[in-house]
Amino acid sequence: MRVEYINPFVESAYNVLSEVLQTEVNRGELYLKSAAMPMLGVAMIVGLAGDVEGRVLFDMKLETGLAVASAMLTSMDMEPVEELNDMARATLTELANMITGQAVTKLHNLGFRFDLTPPAIFSGQNMEVSDPNFEALIVPMELPQGKIEINVAVRERT
């Protein structure tokens, strides 16, 4: 992945998470991966197009997802969620949108043209994700609610 893309994603993930959750966020060590990897339980995906092709995947355990969604909802004086209902899904996809949106804005300011697709959310047990022709950058984020793994796979159009 192009070096210039790394920071916008890492920064916006850090900014958005610490802002909306009003909590301490710790970034883990970045690393690269290409083989199929197991998913934790709930995953939001945002597609990227434009100068590049690829996608951003936000992966977390169901409990983490619910705790994060509840924290976001209560901060807006709304009821927390106990299960992955429509409200929880909408909240989590919004989080994915905010992080990717902010990253893309930063990239625009650096002169890269990216477009987003609307986010989708997956949930279930024993899922795996693999895109054999991509190398993914993994940005692990540690929150009090649990771990969110941000999996960014983009490459230049050739």
């Binding site: 992945m1 192009r2 070096v3 210039e4 790394i6 970045l30 690269l32 991966k33 290409s34 054999p132 022709n133 991509f134 190398e135 950058l137 490459r155 230049e156 050739t158």
Partner: protein
């Protein structure tokens, strides 16, 4: 199991020796030797995975005193045992943050790290030379000793690691108790008196093979450098030089730490590694590269580090083919290095005369102009993950393969073969070569070889 190597002896020596000694010259047991409390010990080399320096343990509460903690060995968590504490021997207290010498042992079911005073070397002996332990042996419980062997005037106590670490629980308790008692006694001592150091004397074929093994292991451990057919020609030449250098300065041939490994690899690095390439290299390289066919010259530069080579190749090609488009895909898996590459800081004098007109002044000093910069795309990427690359005219991968094991090297070379256009060229490090020539045509210049895909 250990290979049975026969020591080559000339006939005169043979005549002088009786049958007994001839049997002893069969080396079929190799052990890694080290010192504990000033005495020499050995562990079967087949049980030793690697030699290590332990820098930061994580202390585990409520364990026996000889358990130093757990250690992260490149992602694997292993327990670390201090053999000196375990055997109730004097242990020299290390300063905070000072790494401990140790070995990683491969047991039947798991790996374990042990801390020792000092790693010595690999010693090859005949198993017939090993004598059973005498029951009055002091420091260490006799049942943990598989034997005693003499080599070049030194006595080595051979430890039976399987017995030590896979014992019944009652034994464990007693030894733990013993060590616990010992731990309550003051433990810090002056540095143990150094054991007598007599230099290894002869250098027969066996000795050389053992040294070679040990240096190969040392390079992998301390520098991540793998000796394989890619670089074995260089390695063999270097080994001879190294032996001579070390013997001249009275040091052991074996590599003891990262500095030794670095010194050994001093002559490996290709010309102008970590610098901009100078005219002699550029001219020769360009003369060996094929005339590119299309309007766009595609170059892949995996393992580019800070990007000196990537800038050099882009500048060289743009100068040589001003009317074509040049695209250099540069990647490295070292995040720190690759992050500095797009905004590399250097001074004008680092750049060869011919490229001075490609420089402009930026806010951090000189930088290459937009034409050169736009030609290069720096990526955070591991060459092992590469897929979906466009077809390349040239691949420049200097000193990269040697940092991978043989299986990975084969995979990477295969990827290179798939990614190159027919007739495209592969540039390896000055001291590296491809495995087998079938797919490649060697184009050799005065000081440089380029591999053309057939």
């Amino acid at each position: 199991m250990a290979n049975i190597d026969t020591q080559v002896l000339n006939s005169q020596e043979l005549d002088e020796q009786d049958g007994e000694e001839r049997r002893q010259s069969l080396v079929d047991f190799k052990m890694v030797t080290f010192s504990l409390g000033g005495k020499d010990y050995g562990i079967d080399i087949m049980r030793v995975k690697e030699i290590a320096k332990f820098a930061q343990f994580t202390y585990v509460p409520n364990t026996a005193p000889f358990v130093r903690g757990v250690y992260n060995l490149r992602g694997d968590i292993i327990s670390v045992i201090d053999l000196r504490l375990m055997f109730n021997l004097p242990a020299e207290q290390r300063e905070e943050g000072h790494p401990e010498n140790g070995l990683i042992l491969r047991l039947e079911t798991n790996m374990i790290g042990v801390v020792v005073d000092q790693i010595d070397k690999v010693v090859g002996i005949a198993s017939s030379q090993v004598q059973p332990p005498h029951p009055i042996f002091g420091d260490i419980n006799v049942k943990y000793i598989s034997g005693v062997a003499e080599h070049e005037g030194r006595l080595y106590i051979i430890l039976d690691v399987d017995r030590i670490f896979s014992r019944e629980s009652d034994e464990e308790e007693s030894i733990a108790q013993r060590s616990f008692d010992a731990a309550r006694r003051p433990r810090v001592q002056e540095a143990a008196s150094p054991s007598p150091t007599d230099e290894p004397r002869s250098s027969g074929t066996d000795e050389r093979a053992i040294q070679r093994d040990f240096v190969t292991q040392g390079l992998a451990t301390f520098a991540g450098f793998h000796v394989t057919p890619v670089n074995v020609d260089w390695f063999d030449r270097r080994m001879d030089e190294w032996r001579a250098e070390r013997q001249a300065s009275g040091k052991d041939v074996q590599l003891i730490d990262e500095d030794d490994a670095r010194a050994f690899l001093g002559t490996f690095h290709s010309r102008y590694a970590g610098r901009f390439w100078q005219a002699d290299y550029v001219t020769e390289l360009l003369s060996l590269l094929p005339e590119p066919a299309g309007n766009v010259i595609q170059v892949w530069n995996p393992g580019c580090g800070e990007g000196y080579g990537s800038y050099s190749i882009a500048a060289a090609l743009l100068k040589r083919y001003p009317d074509r488009q040049v695209k250099v895909w540069a990647g490295d898996k070292d995040l720190m290095k690759i992050s500095t590459a797009p905004n590399l800081v250097f001074s004008r004098s680092d750049v060869p005369e011919e490229w001075q007109d490609l420089l402009v002044d930026g806010k951090n000093g000189p930088t290459f102009n937009a034409a050169v910069k736009d030609a290069i795309l720096f990526e955070f990427s591991d060459v092992l993950n590469s897929a979906g690359m466009p077809k390349m005219d040239v691949i420049v991968a200097r000193d990269l393969l040697s940092l991978h094991g043989e299986a990975e090297q084969r995979k990477v070379i295969e990827t290179f073969e798939e990614t190159l256009k027919p007739g495209g060229a592969l540039v390896l490090g000055d001291n590296e070569r491809v495995f087998d020539g079938a797919a490649w045509e060697e184009i050799t210049g005065d000081s440089l070889t380029v591999y053309r895909r057939r």
